[in-house]
Symmetry: C2
Subunit: 267 residues, 2 copies
């Protein structure tokens, strides 16, 4: 209630570049993770000779099984959904004590910032990164809870509006990875272009270059029926999801475009 | 001319899960990278005690300075744009011989696939990953060429329609990281839901669950004027960019939603 928790600022998560855009608030960071359809999850190979981190696009969401009433301002775990035989799950399984070190990133592009000079161009965006240790959820109750949480994070109410709960074979083939978060940070840019005096004072430049923001937002289109279901009318949980996401996304991008740029600068 | 190059399939880049969705074609992979506004770039800390890969959202594009006429089917480098003092650039600078091992990922969500049971839910998506060694572009000609390439990858023609080329201070503060690609892979899912017989044969399930695809696509909104430029009319390079992106994105998502699911299965 009015309490604002932040992730501790240490070298690993400190935003050095454009630090005025940084955020360490749990609520801000968790919101970005939860409104991004696909997370990018990175971890290292078990082969020390492989210098390249793996990056996987994964579906996941923040949640707290111990405190189901936790809100985005509370400490939470990141639950990632995957298949039992995938590489990341195998590595997490072979790392049961400490867990697999995992980095989770989410980025939303909200607009293209077009300034007088290419050097000051930028995006309006929201990005978040979390660092934590991933381990498989073995407890059946927690696993079903997390599967429902992840499903409903894609389309709210979908779990209740499809054939659930999963059967034994489905439980066996699905793996939930729980990432215990140790740290994180967020970065947000809003506002219009920021140019330097050397350009804003040049008549030939300001008279010839259009400046402003082109908003960018994800749109949920008209549902296309397919598959085995015989229900013809698109149900309410889908139409209301569509309406809400479309309104929220477009409004955010437009508001961000028209906002005062707090830093007054490009990138 | 009709030649199809592929990245070599080795353990590191082989798609094991849903391998029917995999692609190793250069053209496919490079297209996904080039149509994604923000890339996720991962690399390891210079501190061996830090177990977490870093993930940065970065702007970048494929290109070939040696063969400027190269198309997406040809071998290309990945050019990433950044600031001179950022961590990734510092690490690349301290790794001049071999370069910094870097993983680049791009993911586009094209639709939510809603099937009879949560277990078969999926996304239609296009994802690509590239592995390579990054080093700073020191040659001035190549650097300007890459800065123009990256700027025009965001909005075609923007370089020519803003105050360019960069001056000395801008050249000094901007760094271009060139990632020499050693390998990569792509993964694409299209089509409607795929459910198993155990559900498609259940009258109670098919009569009660709506199945199909909800297309998802990025929309470029109405430009919002701001900043120092005095041009009022939105110029043609922006309006045509907007029109083309919006038409392409929506059409792809709709077509993918209505396509025959080649695998006939969810996730």
């Amino acid at each position: 209630m009015g309490r604002t928790l932040v992730y501790p600022k240490v070298e690993k998560n400190t935003v050095h570049r454009k630090s005025d855009r940084a955020s360490y608030d749990l609520h801000t960071i968790h919101s970005i993770i939860n409104t991004t359809p696909v997370l990018h999850v990175s971890f290292n190979s078990s082969d020390p000779a492989d210098p390249f981190p793996t990056i996987l696009p994964m579906i996941g969401t923040m949640g707290s099984y111990e405190h189901p009433s936790a809100d985005l301002n509370d400490p939470m775990d990141c639950y990632l959904h995957g298949y039992v035989s995938s590489g990341i799950m195998k590595q997490a399984r072979s790392n049961p004590e400490k867990g697999l070190p995992i980095t989770v990133a989410a980025t939303k592009v909200d607009g293209i910032v077009l300034s007088l000079t290419p050097n000051s161009h930028s995006y309006n965006y929201r990005s978040a990164v979390l660092f934590g240790y991933g381990s498989l959820v073995e407890d059946i109750e927690e696993k079903i809870w997390a599967m429902k949480l992840v499903t409903n994070s894609v389309v709210p109410g979908r779990w209740e509006n499809s054939r659930s709960p999963p059967d034994g074979a489905e439980m066996a083939s699905t793996t939930i990875l729980k990432v215990k978060i140790v740290n994180g940070s967020g970065k947000i840019r809003i506002g219009g272009p920021g140019d330097e005096k050397k350009d804003t004072e040049r008549e030939d430049v300001v008279e010839s270059v259009w400046t402003g923001v082109v908003p960018i937002y994800e749109t949920v289109g008209e549902p296309v029926r397919g598959g085995a279901g015989r229900v013809e009318k698109v149900p309410e949980h889908i139409t209301s999801f569509r309406g809400e996401v479309n309104e929220t996304n477009e409004e955010y991008a437009r508001t961000a475009a028209a906002a005062i740029n707090p830093a007054g600068k490009g990138y």
